[in-house]
C-alpha cells in the first residue's frame, strides 16, 4: 500500500487541491494589488505625490492597505471556503 498513495480518489484530496488553487489565486491578486498601486501611483515625480495619513498614497494603498486587505481576504476565504477534514487515515477510508 505504501507506494500508490497519491493516485487513489480520496475525497480529501479534491478539497486540498481546491484550497491550494485558492492560495495561488490569492497570491496573484496580492501581487497585482501590490504592484498596481506601488508603480501606478508611485511612478510620478515625488513633488506631485498625494498623501494618506502622512504616507505617500502609493505606499499607503500598496503596503499598508494591502496588508489589511489581504488579512481580511484570508479570513473570509478560510471561514467560507475551507473545509474541515481529518488528517489521519483510520476510520474514514471508504
Amino acid at each position: 500500500m505504501k507506494h500508490n498513495n497519491l493516485v487513489n480518489n480520496d475525497y480529501r484530496f479534491k478539497i486540498a487541491n481546491r484550497e491550494a488553487l485558492i492560495g495561488v489565486g490569492l497570491a496573484i491578486f496580492n501581487f497585482i494589488w501590490w504592484y498596481g498601486f506601488a508603480y501606478g501611483l508611485g511612478s510620478k515625480d515625488p513633488s506631485e505625490y498625494s498623501y494618506v495619513f502622512g504616507f505617500p498614497a502609493w505606499f499607503f494603498y500598496s503596503c499598508v492597505l494591502g496588508v489589511i486587505v489581504m488579512s481580511v481576504l484570508v479570513i473570509i476565504v478560510v471561514k467560507k471556503f475551507f473545509v474541515d477534514v481529518p488528517f489521519d487515515d483510520e476510520g474514514e477510508d471508504k
Partner: protein, 481 residues
C-alpha cells in the same frame, strides 16, 4: 555596560531556558522519540503553528539587516519587503491539507522523508540531504554571528564572549527539548517580536514628530527615499518583483518551513494558523521595515545598517524597555537558529544514517545519536562563527535561493502532479542548484531579475520534460506512483 537594557534581555533568556527544561520532561514519557523530537508529536495548535512559522522565517535578516537596508533605501525597500506577506498564507494553503495527509500516511518526519517515499530513489534522498546540510549549515553560521553581534553591542562584551553566551543558551535548550521546545519558545519569541515591533514603531513615530513630519524630512533629504525606486533609483520594478519568488512564494520549498506544514494537529489548527500567520507576518514585516525608514531623520548618518535597530531602540525608548524590545531581534535570531540546527541534525540522523547506514538502529541509539549530533553540530557552528571563513558567508548569501531552486518543484509537483517521477525530480534539483550557483557567481542579475528566478523556471522545465520523457522507464521500475 548597559545594565538596564541587559537585565530584561537576560530575563528573557532564562525564561526560554526554563521552557526547554520543562519540555524535556515531556519528552521522557514519549512513545515515539523521532516524531516527538523532530515534529513535536504532530500536535501543534493554530497559534503556536502560526508563531513558529513566523519566527522561523523572520530571521536575523528581517530584523537586523532588513531595517538597515530600509534605512538606506527608503520606502522602496519596505515595498520589496512586503513581498513576504504572501508567505503567511501561501505556504499553508498550497502544501496545506494534502501535505499533512500524505506525510502522515508516509509517516514522514522530515521533508526528505516525503521525497524519499514519493520518489523511491536513493539519489533523490542523498542529493536532498546534501543540499540541506550545505546550505542550511552555512545559513546557520551567519545567524550565530548576528546573535553574537547583538549581544556584543548591548553588553560591551568581546565578540567571542558574546558568541559563547549565545551559543550555550541555544544549544542547551534545543538539545534537551527538541522540536516541541523549539515550537513553544518560537511562540513566545513570535509574540515578543509582535509586541516589540509595535512599541518600537510607536516610539519612533513620536520621536520623529509624526508620520507627515518624517516623510517631509525624508523628501527634503532625498526625494527618492519616498519613491518605490530606492535612494539612488536602482530598485527597478522587475528586480523588486522578482523578490516575490525569493522571499514570497518560493518559501514553500524551504525545509524549515515545510517541516512545520507536517506538524499541525488537525485542520482546525491549520485554519487558525492561516489567519494568525497572515496578520502577524504582514504586521511585523511592514512595521519592522518602516522603523528602519523612520529612524533615518531621527538618527542620521548611521554607517553600518546592522546597527540601526539596536541604536534606534536605545534612542527612543527608556533603557529597560529597549532591553525588552531588543529581545525581539534576539528572539528572531534564536528561533531561526534553533530550527535550522534541529533540521540539519534530523537530516543527518534520520535521512542519511537511519536510511542508509543502520536501518535497524535501536530506539535508544537513535535518541542518543539525535541529541549527540545536535550538540556536535552546534559546537562546529560555534567554532566556525569564531572566525567565519569567507566561504560560509558567501554560501549563506544564497542559501535560501539554493534550497528553493532545489526543492520547489520536487515538492509541489510531487504533491500535485501524478506523472512526476524520480528522474524528473533529480534533473530538476541538479539543474536548479547548478544554475543558481553559476548564475549567482557570474550573472548576479540576469535580465534585471534576482538570480533565483531563472533557475526556478529552468528547474520546472527540467522536471516536466524529464518526467514525461521517462514515463515508460519509471512505470516499469516503479509500479504505482
Amino acid at each position: 555596560m548597559n545594565w538596564q537594557a541587559l537585565i530584561p534581555l537576560i530575563g528573557f533568556l532564562i525564561l526560554i531556558f526554563i521552557i526547554g527544561i520543562w519540555t524535556s520532561r515531556h519528552l521522557k514519557g514519549s512513545s515515539s522519540f523521532l516524531q516527538d523530537y523532530f515534529l513535536g508529536g504532530r500536535s501543534l495548535g493554530g497559534f503556536i503553528l502560526a508563531m513558529t512559522m513566523t519566527s522561523t522565517y523572520g530571521s536575523a535578516s528581517s530584523f537586523i539587516g532588513g531595517p538597515g537596508s530600509a534605512y538606506n533605501e527608503g520606502l522602496g525597500w519596505v515595498l520589496l519587503a512586503m513581498s513576504q506577506v504572501a508567505t503567511g498564507y501561501f505556504v499553508l494553503m498550497v502544501l496545506g491539507k494534502k501535505f499533512a495527509i500524505v506525510t502522515r500516511r508516509y509517516k514522514a518526519v522530515t521533508m526528505v522523508d516525503f521525497l524519499k517515499e514519493r520518489y523511491q530513489s536513493k539519489w533523490v534522498v542523498l542529493f536532498s540531504a546534501f543540499s540541506i546540510i550545505v546550505f542550511l549549515f552555512s545559513a546557520m553560521a551567519a545567524q550565530w554571528i548576528g546573535g553574537a553581534r547583538l549581544i556584543e553591542s548591548l553588553t560591551g562584551l568581546s565578540y567571542i564572549g558574546a558568541l559563547f553566551i549565545f551559543a550555550l543558551s541555544v544549544l542547551i535548550y534545543v538539545t534537551i527539548g527538541g522540536f516541541r521546545a523549539v515550537a513553544l519558545t518560537d511562540a513566545i519569541q513570535g509574540s515578543v517580536m509582535f509586541v516589540g515591533t509595535l512599541i518600537l514603531l510607536i516610539a519612533t513615530i513620536i520621536a520623529g514628530g509624526g508620520v507627515s513630519a518624517i516623510m517631509s524630512d525624508l523628501a527634503t533629504e532625498n526625494p527618492n527615499l519616498i519613491t518605490p525606486f530606492g535612494a539612488d533609483g536602482s530598485l527597478t520594478p522587475r528586480y523588486v518583483s522578482s523578490f516575490w519568488i525569493l522571499v514570497g512564494v518560493g518559501v514553500v520549498a524551504l525545509p524549515q518551513i515545510t517541516v512545520r506544514a507536517m506538524s499541525y494537529k488537525n485542520s482546525k489548527s491549520m485554519h487558525r494558523a492561516l489567519i494568525i500567520g497572515t496578520i502577524v507576518v504582514g504586521f511585523i514585516m511592514l512595521n519592522m521595515h518602516l522603523i528602519g525608514v523612520f529612524a533615518r531623520p531621527i538618527l542620521p548618518g548611521i554607517e553600518v545598517g546592522d546597527r540601526v535597530m539596536p541604536l534606534i531602540a536605545l534612542e527612543v525608548l527608556p533603557a529597560w524597555l529597549a532591553g525588552v524590545v531588543l529581545a525581539a531581534p534576539m528572539a528572531a535570531i534564536m528561533s531561526t537558529v534553533d530550527s535550522l540546527l534541529l533540521l540539519v541534525s534530523s537530516t543527518i540522523v534520520k535521512d542519511v544514517y537511519i536510511n542508509y547506514v543502520e536501518p535497524k538502529a535501536s530506539y535508544k541509539k537513535v535518541m542518543r545519536l539525535s541529541i549527540g549530533v545536535t550538540a556536535v553540530l552546534g559546537i562546529i557552528v560555534f567554532l566556525l562563527a569564531l572566525d567565519p571563513p569567507d566561504l560560509i558567508i558567501w554560501l549563506n548569501l544564497f542559501a535560501f535561493g539554493g534550497l528553493e531552486a532545489a526543492f520547489i518543484w520536487p515538492i509541489v509537483l510531487g504533491l500535485y502532479w501524478r506523472k512526476g517521477n524520480k528522474y524528473g525530480a533529480l534533473a530538476s534539483m541538479i539543474a536548479g542548484v547548478g544554475l543558481y550557483v553559476l548564475s549567482d557567481t557570474f550573472f548576479p542579475q540576469p535580465l534585471g531579475l534576482h538570480s533565483v528566478v531563472l533557475p526556478v523556471v529552468l528547474s520546472l522545465i527540467a522536471y516536466v520534460v524529464v518526467s514525461l520523457g521517462t514515463q515508460r522507464k519509471a512505470d516499469v521500475e516503479n509500479v504505482g506512483i
